[in-house]
């Protein structure tokens, strides 16, 4: 299998889908030149009618994509930073997420919104460092966030083929990750988490670049005799609670590594689901490794003080190991 960069995998997914289906179009700011190399070159192959540089009008071009999707195109919208969903919020939440329901199922909106460079790339300040992937899922939009090049390609392809709007978060800290990608056409189904490391002591559910932080953490934890099992959630919605619960059934302990605001966040959802559906499996309280709910400060020492990291995952994973709780039902509780 060839080893390629995450950004290249996203590019390949777009190019292959555009080749396969002439109704797929790409639009957004600077997509013809492609600042991160993801959409670079698409205009040369597919022409300016299918690869459109938009004016800086996020609400307008998001609405345009919705309208075009209703009429049968498959637009892939790019937001070049994670602040841009805020500017187009009505279009995303009130329109894209609800029109099908409100029209009694008359409408389909097969559109993809790629939020690229999401999260804190480093030193970009409060308005360019949010990692708001739970936000639109909270309002019911399908939301995915791959961590590996193989998933980046496979999940983006599924998103393009999906008949609903799908929000794809491209974690800034994953864009240069390299990894093996299967040859040939494949699509990774939405809503399936993946166990990326086996271990019996504690389950770490992670998403986006926190998967890599958790993998680094697991090596440090090994030295302390704590064998971590790591589950890459891959999708926020649909959320694969089955895989998570099965892992917790093996370990009895759960840490959620979530580089987003902890208040009402992704980790909160995972924790609530496990507490609600797998209470008897737990031998210790669930621990969240997440951002405190403050804007991201510019100053480098302040920024690193609030962002979760491998060291934070290690600290989080020690806590349930030290906690004393009456043993639950263990593996018997999960079917």
């Amino acid at each position: 299998m060839p080893r390629i960069r995450f950004a290249q995998a996203l590019h390949d997914a777009l190019a292959e889908e555009m080749r396969r289906d002439a109704s797929v179009i790409v639009l957004g700011e600077d997509v013809r030149c492609g600042l991160m190399g993801i959409t670079t070159g698409l205009v040369d192959e597919f022409g300016p009618e299918r690869v459109l540089d938009t004016p800086i009008s996020e609400a307008g071009f998001t609405a345009l994509a919705i309208g075009a999707a209703i009429r049968g195109l498959r637009p892939v919208v790019e937001y070049q930073i994670s602040a841009l969903p805020y500017v187009a919020m009505d279009q995303l939440v009130n329109q894209a997420a609800k029109l099908r329901y409100m029209t009694g199922g008359q409408i389909r909106i097969p559109m993809v919104v790629r939020v690229t460079m999401s999260g804190a790339a480093g030193g970009l300040g409060a308005q360019h460092s949010d990692h708001n992937y739970p936000m639109l899922a909270h309002m019911g939009l399908k939301t995915i966030m791959p961590s590996s090049p193989a998933d980046a390609k496979g999940l983006l392809k599924s998103a393009v083929r999906d008949d609903d709007p799908v929000i794809v978060y491209e974690d800034a800290k994953c864009l240069s990750v390299r990894g093996e990608v299967p040859e040939g056409d494949y699509a990774t189904p939405l809503g399936r988490a993946e166990v990326v490391r086996n271990g019996g002591a504690v389950t770490i559910v992670a998403i986006g670049h926190m998967v890599h932080e958790a993998l680094r953490a697991s090596e440090l934890l090994d030295r302390e005799g704590i064998a971590a099992e790591i589950v890459d959630a891959r999708c926020v919605l649909p959320l694969d609670t089955h895989t998570v619960l099965a892992s917790v059934a093996r370990t009895g302990r759960l840490v959620v590594a979530d580089d987003s605001n902890s208040f009402c966040g992704f980790a909160a959802e995972v924790a609530a689901r496990v507490a609600g559906e797998g209470f008897g499996l737990l031998r210790a309280p669930i621990i969240r490794c997440a951002r405190p709910t403050v804007p991201v400060p510019f100053s480098p020492p302040l920024e690193s003080a609030i962002l979760p990291s491998a060291a934070g995952v290690v600290r989080a994973a020690r806590q349930p190991m030290e906690a004393h709780m009456p043993a639950g039902k263990g593996a018997d509780g999960c079917t």
Partner: protein
Amino acid sequence: MEAANVPARTKLLQAHGLILLRRMLLIREFDARAGELLASGEIMGEIHQYIGQEAVAVGVLAGAGAEALVGSTHRGHGHLLARGCAPRPMMAELYGKASGYCKGKGGSMHITSLEHGMLGANAILGASAAIAVGAAFAEKTTQSSRVAVAFFGDGAANQGVLHESMNLAAVWKLPVLFVCENNQYAISLRADHGLSVRDVSSRAAAYGFDGRSVDGMDVLTVYEATCEALRRMRTSSLPFLLEAKTYRYHGHFSAEAAILKHPYRPEDEESVWQRRDPIARLRGELLAHGFVPQEELDALHGDVRAEVEDAVVFARQSPPPSADEAFTDVYATEVAGLPDGVR
């Protein structure tokens, strides 16, 4: 300049030329130095250099007066320095130090000094211009004569909130000078590929106020146009839209060349604009009229460089903020019950 205006221009040159030149030089030197510091890894993140556009900030803010309230942009260093903000706390902000204007929490794209009437640089296009409209509204309610200056780029000109704000400012007769800095590009997008009109200023007509496009590479033209716009605003009680045609000499952000595979600007374009460089032009005129001797201009340049270097030393020597600063200034009053999480 038309012949009839020459004496007026000469008068302006004599009265204000040197101070305008100093401010433009300060911006250029500050941003050139900041670019070097970023490239060497001494400062973090990104900066958007104002180099090439100095005549706009300096001309507009000199014309608008020291009382004007200013909404800046992501490319804000020029606005701040033109306004008289100090290089030391600005540079310290780029270093993320506690002695920065925003205690290091803002960074390049968010430098703010309310004390100077600087409502803030902003990383969201169009946002600060729209907020400046609110500042003008507040002034109007107190019968003050202060105006607001709302800067935005040719790219931001297509942002919905700006259109809403221009309409609002007109309907409620607010004293806002909208200033579009048309530097020909929004990152890689040529202005004429994003704009429905050739002159952004022509959009003012849609909102029922006046607009004008001027040569943004000439500080005296920008200064005069600003003074004239403010006179018009006073008589009409309406906003005004001034467009300055200008050019950024460097990449959109400083690391651009390293990231982009293909240049999006024609090779000779920058040199065409460089021939109209606002600093060279003003310096040349001052010399030609004999208003300032060469030695004084050289000394001025040396002073400005020393001021920037002093700011760098100050920033380097300043302590970083303590880690708990990450949790202060979030709310004006205490909020309980927020999870802190393990990090």
